[in-house]
Symmetry: C2
Subunit: 174 residues, 2 copies
DNA sequence: TCTCCGAATCTAGCAACGCTAGGAACGAGT
DNA sequence: ACTCGTTCCTAGCGTTGCTAGATTCGGAGA
């Protein structure tokens, strides 16, 4: 319930609006109750991030499995990734931008995170050739991540996003 | 002087340690003096970011002009970019990660920013082919940015960075 | 039925944050 | 000598994440 409230508040007004006081008010408890369920604000954000990973994984899977061929699959997965970041900026932020202490590139990482990564990997697989699939997927993921974060931070013009994505896909799924 | 102090403090202890009080103490003035020179903390951070852009541009230029051919140039520029992010994490953060209100993808952007982008563009140019150089450079930049930010956030294992970079270069400078 | 204990919750407060209002000190110009 | 504008500081506002101590309340044992 705390997680759901935090997520709603963050998606509606951004993480800077998610204060422990507002969150407590939202769940109709007092502030210290939050600290009896979570170690601190960071832990709450981490929990929201894990939820977000599951959602992202589901989106990516839907995009991949409904594509008719490998070329469309990687394109649709990329589009779905961008769309997720675009439609849930606060969620994306806490998942991949902000510093929350979640184990990531280790076996201890949350299952939802592995699931999302695996969807990317499956989309990339047909184009891996002799390259290491894991590393190539990481690289492709990083490129997607760079595109969406720079765009959201105002560092890249929004209107050319599709064309940049096309260039990336051309280089990665030639 | 304020800018230099802010940069030192940020590079030494990260931006969360840069408070207006500590900054005032560092420059041996009182807090309100900061606000007579800058509109607020964000403006100070933006000024530091502009300084950082100039430094980055210089690093990239040195890397590019000292390379013997196009292939080595783009590789060295990428390496220099990674190294800059690695050696000046706080600086990199305020330049490309945190939300400071600097004009970016517009004519009004600081000259240093254009300079840094142009260095990337010159390195990418030999591989642009029929593609739009600006868009391709943006895409390549985004990929670099994604790699370094995900790595610094602990989302990608550090030790494989060189191999990921090699994969990226293989795809962008085939 | 009465008493006690532990869990859950609240009120109140701490230190630190960004930022600002109001006044004191000081040099330049008349 | 007097005024004025600049420069600076003290003090304080509202907010933040987080915590200590008191309080309430339900179930178990005598």
């Amino acid at each position: 319930m705390i997680i759901a409230a935090a997520r709603e508040l963050a998606e509606a007004e951004g993480w800077e609006a998610v204060t422990t006081r507002r969150l407590a008010e939202r769940i109709e408890y007092s502030q210290p109750v939050l600290y009896s369920h979570f170690k601190g604000k960071d832990a709450i954000m981490a929990a929201v991030a894990v939820e977000g990973c599951a959602d992202l994984a589901a989106d990516l899977r839907a995009a991949r499995t409904s594509a008719p061929d490998a070329s469309r699959a990687i394109a649709e997965v990329s589009r779905a990734y961008s769309a997720f970041a675009d439609q849930h900026p606060a969620l994306y932020d806490v998942m991949f931008n902000q510093a929350v202490d979640l184990p990531f590139a280790t076996p201890g990482a949350p299952a939802a995170l592995h699931a999302a990564f695996n969807e990317l990997a499956e989309a990339v697989r047909p184009y891996a050739g002799d390259d290491d699939l894991g590393l190539l997927t990481e690289t492709f993921w990083a490129a997607l991540h760079g595109l969406v974060t720079l765009m959201r931070g105002g560092r890249l013009p929004r209107e050319a996003h599709d064309r940049r994505l096309a260039l990336l896909l051309a280089r990665f799924s030639q």
